[in-house]
Protein backbone atom coordinates (compact mmCIF):
# COMPACT_ATOMS: atom_id res chain seq x y z
CA UNK A 1 0.00 0.00 0.00
CA UNK A 2 1.54 3.35 -0.95
CA UNK A 3 1.09 6.61 0.85
CA UNK A 4 1.62 8.84 -2.13
CA UNK A 5 0.48 12.32 -1.26
CA UNK A 6 0.12 12.89 -4.98
CA UNK A 7 -2.92 10.64 -4.98
CA UNK A 8 -4.84 13.30 -3.09
CA UNK A 9 -5.37 17.00 -3.79
CA UNK A 10 -3.35 19.43 -1.69
CA UNK A 11 -5.23 21.02 1.21
CA UNK A 12 -6.82 24.39 0.52
CA UNK A 13 -5.79 27.62 2.19
CA UNK A 14 -6.65 27.87 5.85
CA UNK A 15 -7.14 31.64 5.86
CA UNK A 16 -10.52 32.21 4.33
CA UNK A 17 -12.18 35.55 5.13
CA UNK A 18 -15.68 34.11 5.19
CA UNK A 19 -14.67 31.41 7.66
CA UNK A 20 -13.04 34.04 9.89
CA UNK A 21 -16.13 36.21 9.63
CA UNK A 22 -18.26 33.23 10.66
CA UNK A 23 -15.93 32.66 13.60
CA UNK A 24 -16.26 36.32 14.60
CA UNK A 25 -20.06 36.07 14.50
CA UNK A 26 -19.99 32.86 16.48
CA UNK A 27 -17.61 34.33 19.04
CA UNK A 28 -19.66 37.50 19.45
CA UNK A 29 -22.80 35.44 19.94
CA UNK A 30 -21.08 33.07 22.36
CA UNK A 31 -19.50 35.81 24.45
CA UNK A 32 -22.65 37.89 24.67
CA UNK A 33 -24.93 35.27 26.13
CA UNK A 34 -27.77 36.88 28.05
CA UNK A 35 -26.56 36.16 31.60
CA UNK A 36 -23.06 37.43 30.96
CA UNK A 37 -24.38 40.48 29.11
CA UNK A 38 -26.72 41.38 31.97
CA UNK A 39 -23.88 41.10 34.53
CA UNK A 40 -21.63 43.26 32.40
CA UNK A 41 -24.35 45.83 31.76
CA UNK A 42 -24.85 46.08 35.52
CA UNK A 43 -21.10 46.48 35.98
CA UNK A 44 -20.92 49.25 33.38
CA UNK A 45 -24.04 50.92 34.75
CA UNK A 46 -22.52 51.06 38.23
CA UNK A 47 -20.55 54.34 37.75
CA UNK A 48 -23.65 55.95 36.29
CA UNK A 49 -25.85 54.77 39.14
CA UNK A 50 -23.34 55.90 41.75
CA UNK A 51 -22.85 59.24 40.00
CA UNK A 52 -26.62 59.74 40.00
CA UNK A 53 -26.83 59.56 43.79
CA UNK A 54 -25.31 63.01 44.59
CA UNK A 55 -27.43 64.56 41.86
CA UNK A 56 -30.58 63.01 43.29
CA UNK A 57 -29.59 64.08 46.80
CA UNK A 58 -28.92 67.64 45.60
CA UNK A 59 -32.26 67.87 43.84
CA UNK A 60 -34.00 66.56 46.97
CA UNK A 61 -32.28 69.25 48.98
CA UNK A 62 -33.26 71.77 46.34
CA UNK A 63 -29.67 72.96 45.92
CA UNK A 64 -27.79 72.29 42.68
CA UNK A 65 -24.30 70.79 42.78
CA UNK A 66 -21.52 73.33 42.38
CA UNK A 67 -19.02 72.95 39.52
CA UNK A 68 -16.26 71.74 41.83
CA UNK A 69 -18.43 68.93 43.14
CA UNK A 70 -19.37 67.97 39.59
CA UNK A 71 -15.70 67.84 38.62
CA UNK A 72 -15.00 65.56 41.59
CA UNK A 73 -17.93 63.32 40.69
CA UNK A 74 -16.70 63.08 37.11
CA UNK A 75 -13.18 62.31 38.28
CA UNK A 76 -14.23 59.56 40.67
CA UNK A 77 -16.78 57.79 38.52
CA UNK A 78 -15.75 58.52 34.92
CA UNK A 79 -11.97 58.68 35.25
CA UNK A 80 -11.28 56.39 38.18
CA UNK A 81 -14.02 53.80 38.56
CA UNK A 82 -14.63 53.24 34.85
CA UNK A 83 -11.09 52.85 33.46
CA UNK A 84 -9.50 51.58 36.68
CA UNK A 85 -12.03 48.92 37.60
CA UNK A 86 -14.94 48.45 35.22
CA UNK A 87 -13.03 48.20 31.94
CA UNK A 88 -10.25 45.94 33.33
CA UNK A 89 -12.84 43.68 34.96
CA UNK A 90 -14.86 43.44 31.75
CA UNK A 91 -11.65 42.74 29.84
CA UNK A 92 -10.81 40.05 32.39
CA UNK A 93 -14.21 38.40 32.05
CA UNK A 94 -14.12 38.39 28.26
CA UNK A 95 -10.40 37.74 27.90
CA UNK A 96 -10.47 34.79 30.28
CA UNK A 97 -13.68 33.36 28.89
CA UNK A 98 -13.01 33.52 25.18
CA UNK A 99 -10.96 30.32 25.10
CA UNK A 100 -11.59 28.82 28.52
CA UNK A 101 -15.35 28.72 27.97
CA UNK A 102 -14.80 26.71 24.80
CA UNK A 103 -12.55 24.32 26.68
CA UNK A 104 -14.95 24.01 29.62
CA UNK A 105 -17.91 23.44 27.31
CA UNK A 106 -15.79 21.12 25.14
CA UNK A 107 -16.81 23.02 22.02
CA UNK A 108 -13.27 24.01 21.08
CA UNK A 109 -13.08 20.80 19.06
CA UNK A 110 -15.57 22.22 16.58
CA UNK A 111 -13.17 25.08 15.88
CA UNK A 112 -9.97 23.04 15.87
CA UNK A 113 -11.34 20.64 13.26
CA UNK A 114 -12.17 23.43 10.79
CA UNK A 115 -9.77 24.70 8.16
CA UNK A 116 -8.73 27.66 10.30
CA UNK A 117 -5.19 28.55 11.29
CA UNK A 118 -4.97 28.09 15.03
CA UNK A 119 -3.56 31.55 15.63
CA UNK A 120 -6.42 33.04 13.66
CA UNK A 121 -8.93 31.33 15.96
CA UNK A 122 -7.34 33.08 18.91
CA UNK A 123 -6.98 36.42 17.10
CA UNK A 124 -10.62 36.46 15.99
CA UNK A 125 -11.85 35.53 19.45
CA UNK A 126 -9.76 38.32 20.93
CA UNK A 127 -11.19 40.73 18.38
CA UNK A 128 -14.70 39.70 19.38
CA UNK A 129 -13.88 40.25 23.06
CA UNK A 130 -12.35 43.66 22.47
CA UNK A 131 -15.29 44.72 20.30
CA UNK A 132 -17.72 43.72 23.02
CA UNK A 133 -15.87 45.69 25.70
CA UNK A 134 -15.73 48.71 23.40
CA UNK A 135 -19.43 48.27 22.62
CA UNK A 136 -20.26 48.33 26.33
CA UNK A 137 -18.10 51.43 26.80
CA UNK A 138 -19.88 53.11 23.90
CA UNK A 139 -23.20 52.16 25.44
CA UNK A 140 -22.50 53.50 28.94
CA UNK A 141 -19.92 56.28 28.69
CA UNK A 142 -22.18 58.83 26.94
CA UNK A 143 -25.04 58.55 29.45
CA UNK A 144 -22.52 58.68 32.31
CA UNK A 145 -21.04 62.01 31.23
CA UNK A 146 -24.41 63.36 30.14
CA UNK A 147 -25.82 62.39 33.51
CA UNK A 148 -23.03 64.29 35.30
CA UNK A 149 -22.93 67.45 33.21
CA UNK A 150 -26.12 67.82 31.21
CA UNK A 151 -28.85 70.11 32.49
CA UNK A 152 -26.92 71.26 35.57
CA UNK A 153 -28.08 74.76 36.54
CA UNK A 154 -24.67 75.65 38.03
CA UNK A 155 -22.61 75.04 34.87
CA UNK A 156 -23.25 75.49 31.21
CA UNK A 157 -21.35 72.85 29.26
CA UNK A 158 -21.70 73.26 25.48
CA UNK A 159 -22.98 70.12 23.80
CA UNK A 160 -20.08 70.02 21.35
CA UNK A 161 -17.58 70.11 24.19
CA UNK A 162 -19.38 67.37 26.04
CA UNK A 163 -19.53 65.18 22.94
CA UNK A 164 -15.80 65.73 22.34
CA UNK A 165 -15.08 64.78 25.95
CA UNK A 166 -17.16 61.63 25.54
CA UNK A 167 -15.29 60.79 22.33
CA UNK A 168 -11.88 61.20 23.97
CA UNK A 169 -12.87 59.10 26.98
CA UNK A 170 -14.19 56.43 24.61
CA UNK A 171 -10.88 56.31 22.76
CA UNK A 172 -9.03 55.93 26.07
CA UNK A 173 -11.44 53.18 27.19
CA UNK A 174 -11.02 51.43 23.83
CA UNK A 175 -7.24 51.46 24.19
CA UNK A 176 -7.67 50.10 27.72
CA UNK A 177 -10.04 47.43 26.41
CA UNK A 178 -7.52 46.30 23.78
CA UNK A 179 -4.50 46.27 26.08
CA UNK A 180 -6.23 44.60 29.02
CA UNK A 181 -8.13 42.01 26.98
CA UNK A 182 -4.94 41.09 25.14
CA UNK A 183 -3.06 40.73 28.43
CA UNK A 184 -5.79 38.68 30.13
CA UNK A 185 -6.29 36.54 27.03
CA UNK A 186 -2.58 35.75 27.05
CA UNK A 187 -2.60 35.05 30.79
CA UNK A 188 -5.62 32.82 30.24
CA UNK A 189 -3.52 30.55 28.04
CA UNK A 190 -0.58 30.56 30.44
CA UNK A 191 -2.30 30.02 33.79
CA UNK A 192 -5.20 27.97 35.03
CA UNK A 193 -7.01 30.19 37.54
CA UNK A 194 -7.10 33.22 35.32
CA UNK A 195 -9.95 34.99 37.16
CA UNK A 196 -8.01 34.98 40.44
CA UNK A 197 -4.70 35.79 38.78
CA UNK A 198 -6.38 38.54 36.75
CA UNK A 199 -8.06 40.09 39.79
CA UNK A 200 -4.75 40.07 41.66
CA UNK A 201 -3.05 41.63 38.64
CA UNK A 202 -5.65 44.41 38.48
CA UNK A 203 -5.41 45.20 42.18
CA UNK A 204 -1.69 44.79 42.78
CA UNK A 205 -0.01 45.59 39.49
CA UNK A 206 -2.40 48.05 37.89
CA UNK A 207 -3.84 49.45 41.08
CA UNK A 208 -1.02 49.78 43.58
CA UNK A 209 2.08 49.76 41.40
CA UNK A 210 0.72 52.35 38.97
CA UNK A 211 0.17 54.73 41.90
CA UNK A 212 3.72 54.55 43.23
CA UNK A 213 5.88 57.22 41.61
CA UNK A 214 8.64 54.88 40.61
CA UNK A 215 9.98 53.69 37.28
CA UNK A 216 8.11 50.37 37.58
CA UNK A 217 4.78 52.06 37.04
CA UNK A 218 5.81 52.70 33.47
CA UNK A 219 5.31 48.97 32.98
CA UNK A 220 1.62 49.24 33.83
CA UNK A 221 -1.17 49.91 31.35
CA UNK A 222 -2.80 52.24 33.86
CA UNK A 223 0.11 54.65 33.84
CA UNK A 224 -0.38 55.37 30.15
CA UNK A 225 -4.15 55.57 30.50
CA UNK A 226 -3.74 58.12 33.26
CA UNK A 227 -1.34 60.19 31.20
CA UNK A 228 -3.80 60.12 28.32
CA UNK A 229 -6.65 61.21 30.57
CA UNK A 230 -4.50 63.97 31.95
CA UNK A 231 -3.51 65.14 28.48
CA UNK A 232 -6.76 64.78 26.60
CA UNK A 233 -9.42 65.44 29.20
CA UNK A 234 -7.78 68.38 30.96
CA UNK A 235 -8.27 67.27 34.52
CA UNK A 236 -5.73 69.22 36.56
CA UNK A 237 -6.55 67.44 39.82
CA UNK A 238 -5.51 64.13 38.20
CA UNK A 239 -1.83 65.02 38.33
CA UNK A 240 -2.07 65.49 42.09
CA UNK A 241 -4.18 62.41 42.71
CA UNK A 242 -2.07 60.12 40.55
CA UNK A 243 1.31 61.63 41.40
CA UNK A 244 2.08 62.55 37.80
CA UNK A 245 4.58 65.28 37.04
CA UNK A 246 3.32 67.10 34.02
CA UNK A 247 6.82 68.02 32.89
CA UNK A 248 8.13 64.47 32.74
CA UNK A 249 5.14 62.43 31.54
CA UNK A 250 5.33 61.03 28.01
CA UNK A 251 3.54 62.56 25.03
CA UNK A 252 -0.04 61.41 24.45
CA UNK A 253 0.92 59.98 21.07
CA UNK A 254 3.64 57.82 22.55
CA UNK A 255 1.17 56.61 25.18
CA UNK A 256 -1.20 55.53 22.42
CA UNK A 257 1.61 53.75 20.59
CA UNK A 258 2.79 52.08 23.80
CA UNK A 259 -0.69 50.75 24.58
CA UNK A 260 -1.11 49.48 21.02
CA UNK A 261 2.30 47.84 21.08
CA UNK A 262 1.64 46.18 24.47
CA UNK A 263 -1.69 44.82 23.21
CA UNK A 264 -0.17 43.66 19.95
CA UNK A 265 2.77 41.94 21.63
CA UNK A 266 0.48 40.17 24.11
CA UNK A 267 -1.75 39.11 21.21
CA UNK A 268 1.17 37.86 19.11
CA UNK A 269 2.57 35.85 22.02
CA UNK A 270 -0.83 34.36 22.82
CA UNK A 271 -1.39 33.53 19.14
CA UNK A 272 1.91 31.68 19.13
CA UNK A 273 1.06 29.80 22.32
CA UNK A 274 -2.36 28.91 21.00
CA UNK A 275 -0.96 27.62 17.73
CA UNK A 276 1.54 25.24 19.36
CA UNK A 277 -0.50 24.15 22.35
CA UNK A 278 -2.50 20.95 22.43
CA UNK A 279 -5.98 21.20 23.85
CA UNK A 280 -6.84 17.84 25.25
CA UNK A 281 -10.54 17.87 25.93
CA UNK A 282 -11.83 15.40 28.44
CA UNK A 283 -13.85 12.62 26.92
CA UNK A 284 -16.14 10.12 28.58
CA UNK A 285 -13.49 7.55 27.80
CA UNK A 286 -10.91 9.69 29.49
CA UNK A 287 -8.00 8.62 27.34
Amino acid sequence: MSTAAAAFPPPPSALQPRALLALLRLSLAGLSRLRRLISLCLLFALPMLLAALPRIAASLRGRPLDPLALTEIEFVFAFVLLPHAVVPLAALLFGSGMINDEIEDQTLTYLLIRPLQRWSIYAVKLLASVLLVIFLCALFVPPLLFMIWWGQPSVDVPLAELVARIGRLLVICSLAAFAYTAIFGCLGILVRRILIVGAVYIIVFEGLLASIPFVLREFTVMYYLRVLMLSWLHIPEAARHWGLEVDVIPEAASCVVTLLVVGTLATAFACYLFSVREFRLKTPEGT
Binding site: S2, A4, R18, Q106, L111, L116, R280
Partner: protein, 328 residues
Protein backbone atom coordinates in the same frame (compact mmCIF):
# COMPACT_ATOMS: atom_id res chain seq x y z
CA UNK B 1 -28.09 -16.87 22.48
CA UNK B 2 -24.62 -17.55 21.23
CA UNK B 3 -21.53 -15.49 21.35
CA UNK B 4 -22.05 -12.11 19.79
CA UNK B 5 -19.17 -12.84 17.50
CA UNK B 6 -20.99 -15.89 16.23
CA UNK B 7 -24.41 -14.43 15.92
CA UNK B 8 -24.21 -10.74 15.14
CA UNK B 9 -25.26 -9.75 11.65
CA UNK B 10 -21.93 -9.60 9.94
CA UNK B 11 -22.14 -7.80 6.64
CA UNK B 12 -20.83 -9.43 3.56
CA UNK B 13 -17.74 -7.51 2.60
CA UNK B 14 -19.18 -4.91 0.17
CA UNK B 15 -15.97 -2.99 0.00
CA UNK B 16 -13.30 -4.94 -1.73
CA UNK B 17 -10.56 -2.64 -0.55
CA UNK B 18 -7.65 -2.03 -2.87
CA UNK B 19 -4.75 -3.51 -1.00
CA UNK B 20 -2.21 -1.52 -2.97
CA UNK B 21 -4.12 1.78 -2.96
CA UNK B 22 -2.85 4.78 -1.08
CA UNK B 23 -3.36 4.80 2.67
CA UNK B 24 -6.08 7.15 3.79
CA UNK B 25 -4.70 7.21 7.31
CA UNK B 26 -1.07 6.42 7.93
CA UNK B 27 0.45 6.16 11.41
CA UNK B 28 4.15 5.36 11.44
CA UNK B 29 5.79 4.61 14.78
CA UNK B 30 3.38 6.92 16.55
CA UNK B 31 3.54 7.32 20.29
CA UNK B 32 1.61 9.77 22.39
CA UNK B 33 2.36 10.38 26.04
CA UNK B 34 0.41 12.46 28.50
CA UNK B 35 3.11 12.96 31.07
CA UNK B 36 3.63 9.50 32.54
CA UNK B 37 0.55 8.06 30.86
CA UNK B 38 0.89 6.41 27.47
CA UNK B 39 -1.95 7.15 25.08
CA UNK B 40 -0.51 5.33 22.07
CA UNK B 41 2.58 3.19 22.07
CA UNK B 42 4.68 2.96 18.90
CA UNK B 43 1.69 2.42 16.66
CA UNK B 44 2.21 1.72 12.99
CA UNK B 45 -0.90 1.22 10.95
CA UNK B 46 -2.12 2.04 7.46
CA UNK B 47 -5.83 2.33 6.84
CA UNK B 48 -6.97 2.04 3.25
CA UNK B 49 -10.08 3.61 1.73
CA UNK B 50 -13.40 2.22 2.91
CA UNK B 51 -14.97 1.69 6.30
CA UNK B 52 -12.73 0.60 9.15
CA UNK B 53 -13.75 -0.17 12.69
CA UNK B 54 -11.44 1.00 15.44
CA UNK B 55 -12.14 -1.19 18.42
CA UNK B 56 -10.86 -1.22 21.93
CA UNK B 57 -12.02 -1.14 25.52
CA UNK B 58 -12.18 2.11 27.46
CA UNK B 59 -8.73 3.60 27.77
CA UNK B 60 -7.38 1.67 24.77
CA UNK B 61 -6.33 4.87 22.99
CA UNK B 62 -9.10 5.18 20.43
CA UNK B 63 -9.85 8.81 21.15
CA UNK B 64 -6.15 9.61 21.19
CA UNK B 65 -5.88 7.92 17.80
CA UNK B 66 -8.72 10.02 16.39
CA UNK B 67 -7.45 13.25 17.93
CA UNK B 68 -4.05 12.60 16.39
CA UNK B 69 -5.62 11.74 13.05
CA UNK B 70 -7.63 14.96 13.04
CA UNK B 71 -4.66 17.13 13.96
CA UNK B 72 -5.88 18.05 17.42
CA UNK B 73 -2.91 16.41 19.09
CA UNK B 74 0.74 16.34 18.11
CA UNK B 75 2.40 12.93 18.19
CA UNK B 76 5.14 12.65 20.81
CA UNK B 77 6.96 10.42 18.35
CA UNK B 78 6.39 9.22 14.80
CA UNK B 79 4.34 10.67 11.96
CA UNK B 80 0.63 10.88 11.34
CA UNK B 81 -0.59 11.40 7.81
CA UNK B 82 -4.08 11.57 6.43
CA UNK B 83 -4.60 11.55 2.67
CA UNK B 84 -0.83 11.63 2.37
CA UNK B 85 -0.46 14.90 4.28
CA UNK B 86 0.74 15.55 7.83
CA UNK B 87 -2.19 16.74 9.91
CA UNK B 88 -0.66 18.50 12.91
CA UNK B 89 -0.58 22.25 12.27
CA UNK B 90 -1.99 21.73 8.80
CA UNK B 91 -5.49 23.16 9.19
CA UNK B 92 -6.13 23.19 5.45
CA UNK B 93 -6.44 19.41 5.77
CA UNK B 94 -9.56 19.90 7.84
CA UNK B 95 -11.35 20.74 4.61
CA UNK B 96 -10.99 17.04 3.74
CA UNK B 97 -11.54 15.63 7.21
CA UNK B 98 -14.77 15.30 9.17
CA UNK B 99 -14.90 14.38 12.85
CA UNK B 100 -17.85 13.38 14.97
CA UNK B 101 -16.30 13.85 18.43
CA UNK B 102 -17.10 11.63 21.36
CA UNK B 103 -17.98 14.37 23.82
CA UNK B 104 -21.62 15.35 23.95
CA UNK B 105 -20.86 19.06 23.60
CA UNK B 106 -22.60 21.76 21.60
CA UNK B 107 -23.29 25.45 21.54
CA UNK B 108 -26.48 24.60 23.38
CA UNK B 109 -28.13 27.95 22.73
CA UNK B 110 -28.10 27.39 18.98
CA UNK B 111 -30.71 25.60 16.95
CA UNK B 112 -29.59 22.60 14.94
CA UNK B 113 -29.81 24.67 11.77
CA UNK B 114 -27.73 27.53 13.17
CA UNK B 115 -25.09 25.10 14.39
CA UNK B 116 -24.73 23.23 11.13
CA UNK B 117 -24.80 26.45 9.11
CA UNK B 118 -22.10 27.91 11.37
CA UNK B 119 -20.00 24.78 10.82
CA UNK B 120 -20.46 25.14 7.05
CA UNK B 121 -19.33 28.76 7.22
CA UNK B 122 -16.39 27.85 9.46
CA UNK B 123 -15.37 25.32 6.82
CA UNK B 124 -15.10 28.14 4.32
CA UNK B 125 -18.39 27.60 2.52
CA UNK B 126 -20.18 30.82 1.74
CA UNK B 127 -23.69 32.12 1.24
CA UNK B 128 -26.04 29.85 -0.65
CA UNK B 129 -23.50 27.03 -0.87
CA UNK B 130 -23.29 26.89 2.91
CA UNK B 131 -27.07 26.97 3.29
CA UNK B 132 -27.49 24.18 0.75
CA UNK B 133 -24.77 22.10 2.39
CA UNK B 134 -26.30 22.59 5.84
CA UNK B 135 -29.77 21.68 4.56
CA UNK B 136 -28.41 18.57 2.85
CA UNK B 137 -26.42 17.46 5.86
CA UNK B 138 -29.44 17.83 8.13
CA UNK B 139 -31.63 16.04 5.64
CA UNK B 140 -29.07 13.25 5.36
CA UNK B 141 -29.21 12.57 9.09
CA UNK B 142 -32.98 13.06 9.13
CA UNK B 143 -32.87 16.10 11.35
CA UNK B 144 -34.72 18.50 9.06
CA UNK B 145 -37.98 18.35 11.05
CA UNK B 146 -36.13 19.33 14.23
CA UNK B 147 -33.57 21.71 12.84
CA UNK B 148 -35.25 24.85 14.15
CA UNK B 149 -35.35 23.64 17.74
CA UNK B 150 -32.68 24.59 20.26
CA UNK B 151 -30.03 21.89 20.61
CA UNK B 152 -30.42 21.92 24.39
CA UNK B 153 -33.81 20.26 23.89
CA UNK B 154 -32.53 17.44 21.68
CA UNK B 155 -32.58 13.80 22.69
CA UNK B 156 -29.30 11.86 22.78
CA UNK B 157 -29.99 10.30 19.38
CA UNK B 158 -30.77 13.69 17.84
CA UNK B 159 -27.60 15.12 19.29
CA UNK B 160 -25.54 12.29 17.83
CA UNK B 161 -27.12 12.79 14.43
CA UNK B 162 -26.45 16.52 14.63
CA UNK B 163 -22.81 15.78 15.43
CA UNK B 164 -22.62 13.56 12.37
CA UNK B 165 -24.24 16.31 10.28
CA UNK B 166 -21.55 18.82 11.30
CA UNK B 167 -18.92 16.25 10.32
CA UNK B 168 -20.54 15.82 6.91
CA UNK B 169 -21.51 19.38 6.07
CA UNK B 170 -18.31 20.23 4.18
CA UNK B 171 -18.29 16.94 2.23
CA UNK B 172 -15.09 15.53 3.75
CA UNK B 173 -13.10 12.78 2.06
CA UNK B 174 -12.43 10.99 5.35
CA UNK B 175 -14.84 10.74 8.21
CA UNK B 176 -13.82 9.93 11.78
CA UNK B 177 -16.66 8.88 14.05
CA UNK B 178 -15.78 8.59 17.72
CA UNK B 179 -18.22 6.31 19.56
CA UNK B 180 -21.18 7.62 17.54
CA UNK B 181 -23.68 5.27 19.14
CA UNK B 182 -22.56 5.80 22.69
CA UNK B 183 -25.37 6.44 25.14
CA UNK B 184 -28.18 6.12 22.63
CA UNK B 185 -31.34 4.10 23.09
CA UNK B 186 -31.96 1.02 20.89
CA UNK B 187 -34.13 2.93 18.43
CA UNK B 188 -31.60 5.71 17.97
CA UNK B 189 -28.89 3.07 17.77
CA UNK B 190 -30.65 1.37 14.90
CA UNK B 191 -31.11 4.69 13.09
CA UNK B 192 -27.45 5.55 13.53
CA UNK B 193 -26.46 2.06 12.44
CA UNK B 194 -28.48 2.49 9.23
CA UNK B 195 -26.98 5.93 8.72
CA UNK B 196 -23.45 4.59 8.95
CA UNK B 197 -24.26 1.73 6.60
CA UNK B 198 -25.50 4.31 4.12
CA UNK B 199 -22.33 6.36 4.47
CA UNK B 200 -20.23 3.26 3.86
CA UNK B 201 -22.34 2.14 0.92
CA UNK B 202 -21.78 5.53 -0.69
CA UNK B 203 -18.07 4.74 -0.79
CA UNK B 204 -16.94 7.16 1.89
CA UNK B 205 -13.80 6.46 3.85
CA UNK B 206 -14.77 6.16 7.48
CA UNK B 207 -12.90 5.29 10.64
CA UNK B 208 -15.47 4.29 13.22
CA UNK B 209 -14.40 3.89 16.82
CA UNK B 210 -16.32 1.86 19.35
CA UNK B 211 -15.81 -0.32 22.36
CA UNK B 212 -18.67 -2.57 21.29
CA UNK B 213 -17.68 -5.18 18.74
CA UNK B 214 -21.29 -5.87 17.88
CA UNK B 215 -21.88 -2.28 16.75
CA UNK B 216 -18.92 -2.28 14.41
CA UNK B 217 -19.11 -5.73 12.89
CA UNK B 218 -22.58 -4.94 11.62
CA UNK B 219 -21.13 -2.08 9.62
CA UNK B 220 -17.74 -3.26 8.44
CA UNK B 221 -15.67 -6.43 8.60
CA UNK B 222 -12.40 -4.43 8.52
CA UNK B 223 -11.26 -3.79 12.02
CA UNK B 224 -8.34 -2.60 14.08
CA UNK B 225 -8.12 -3.68 17.68
CA UNK B 226 -6.37 -1.39 20.13
CA UNK B 227 -5.57 -2.15 23.71
CA UNK B 228 -3.49 -0.04 26.07
CA UNK B 229 -2.29 2.10 23.22
CA UNK B 230 -1.07 -0.83 21.15
CA UNK B 231 -2.40 -2.51 18.06
CA UNK B 232 -3.58 -5.93 19.20
CA UNK B 233 -4.98 -7.19 15.94
CA UNK B 234 -5.75 -5.86 12.50
CA UNK B 235 -7.58 -7.16 9.50
CA UNK B 236 -10.79 -8.79 8.41
CA UNK B 237 -13.27 -9.76 11.09
CA UNK B 238 -12.78 -13.41 10.05
CA UNK B 239 -9.13 -13.23 11.00
CA UNK B 240 -9.93 -11.63 14.32
CA UNK B 241 -12.57 -14.24 14.93
CA UNK B 242 -10.09 -16.99 14.12
CA UNK B 243 -7.78 -15.56 16.73
CA UNK B 244 -10.60 -15.47 19.22
CA UNK B 245 -11.68 -19.00 18.34
CA UNK B 246 -8.32 -20.35 19.41
CA UNK B 247 -9.51 -19.67 22.93
CA UNK B 248 -12.43 -21.37 24.67
CA UNK B 249 -15.79 -19.61 24.45
CA UNK B 250 -17.54 -18.88 27.74
CA UNK B 251 -21.27 -19.54 27.68
CA UNK B 252 -23.59 -18.79 30.58
CA UNK B 253 -26.60 -21.06 31.14
CA UNK B 254 -29.20 -19.85 33.63
CA UNK B 255 -31.32 -22.61 35.14
CA UNK B 256 -32.96 -23.26 38.53
CA UNK B 257 -31.33 -26.72 38.20
CA UNK B 258 -27.94 -25.28 37.28
CA UNK B 259 -26.08 -27.94 39.27
CA UNK B 260 -27.85 -30.71 37.37
CA UNK B 261 -27.15 -28.91 34.07
CA UNK B 262 -23.50 -28.67 35.07
CA UNK B 263 -23.43 -32.37 35.87
CA UNK B 264 -24.80 -33.23 32.43
CA UNK B 265 -22.44 -30.94 30.59
CA UNK B 266 -19.27 -31.87 32.38
CA UNK B 267 -19.41 -35.24 30.70
CA UNK B 268 -19.11 -33.71 27.22
CA UNK B 269 -15.73 -33.82 25.50
CA UNK B 270 -15.90 -30.30 24.09
CA UNK B 271 -16.45 -28.73 27.53
CA UNK B 272 -13.02 -27.78 28.79
CA UNK B 273 -13.92 -25.78 31.87
CA UNK B 274 -16.80 -24.95 34.15
CA UNK B 275 -17.74 -22.45 36.85
CA UNK B 276 -20.84 -22.32 39.06
CA UNK B 277 -22.56 -19.03 39.87
CA UNK B 278 -25.04 -19.88 42.63
CA UNK B 279 -26.20 -16.30 43.09
CA UNK B 280 -27.32 -16.11 39.44
CA UNK B 281 -28.43 -19.75 39.42
CA UNK B 282 -26.11 -20.20 36.48
CA UNK B 283 -23.30 -22.32 35.22
CA UNK B 284 -20.56 -20.93 33.00
CA UNK B 285 -19.00 -23.45 30.67
CA UNK B 286 -15.93 -23.08 28.51
CA UNK B 287 -15.91 -24.81 25.14
CA UNK B 288 -13.62 -24.87 22.14
CA UNK B 289 -16.42 -26.12 19.91
CA UNK B 290 -19.25 -23.65 20.37
CA UNK B 291 -21.16 -24.87 17.31
CA UNK B 292 -21.34 -28.45 18.60
CA UNK B 293 -22.25 -27.18 22.01
CA UNK B 294 -25.11 -25.04 20.76
CA UNK B 295 -26.46 -27.95 18.67
CA UNK B 296 -26.75 -30.00 21.81
CA UNK B 297 -28.49 -27.34 23.86
CA UNK B 298 -32.09 -27.82 22.63
CA UNK B 299 -32.06 -31.43 23.77
CA UNK B 300 -30.86 -30.36 27.17
CA UNK B 301 -33.44 -27.60 27.38
CA UNK B 302 -36.28 -29.97 26.49
CA UNK B 303 -35.37 -32.39 29.26
CA UNK B 304 -37.82 -32.04 32.15
CA UNK B 305 -35.24 -32.04 34.89
CA UNK B 306 -32.96 -29.42 33.33
CA UNK B 307 -35.11 -26.40 32.42
CA UNK B 308 -33.07 -23.61 30.88
CA UNK B 309 -34.21 -20.01 31.30
CA UNK B 310 -31.46 -18.16 29.53
CA UNK B 311 -28.31 -18.75 27.54
CA UNK B 312 -25.88 -16.01 26.69
CA UNK B 313 -22.28 -15.55 25.80
CA UNK B 314 -19.95 -14.26 28.46
CA UNK B 315 -17.80 -12.90 25.63
CA UNK B 316 -20.11 -10.14 24.49
CA UNK B 317 -17.82 -7.35 25.49
CA UNK B 318 -14.52 -6.35 24.09
CA UNK B 319 -12.73 -6.72 27.38
CA UNK B 320 -13.33 -10.44 27.07
CA UNK B 321 -12.08 -10.45 23.51
CA UNK B 322 -8.96 -8.61 24.55
CA UNK B 323 -8.42 -11.01 27.36
CA UNK B 324 -8.29 -13.69 24.71
CA UNK B 325 -6.02 -11.78 22.39
CA UNK B 326 -3.48 -10.56 24.88
CA UNK B 327 -3.34 -13.61 27.12
CA UNK B 328 -0.56 -16.09 26.31
Amino acid sequence: MTSVIEQAPTRPDPTARPADGPAIVDFTGVSKWYGQVIGLNNLTVRIPAGVTGLLGPNGAGKSTFLQLATGQLRPSMGTVRVLGQPVWNNPGMNRWIGLCPEQDAFYEWMTGWEFILACAHLSGLGGGVARNAAAQALEYVKMTPNMNRAIRGYSKGMRQRTKIAQALVHEPKVLFLDEPMSGTDPLARRDLHDLMLRLGDEGRSIVLSSHVLYEVQGITPHILLLNRGKLVAEGHLRQIRDLIDEHPHRIVIVSPQYRRVAARLVEQDDVVGMELRPREEAVVIETKAPDTFYQRLPTLALAEDTPIHEVYSDDDNLEAVFKYLVSP
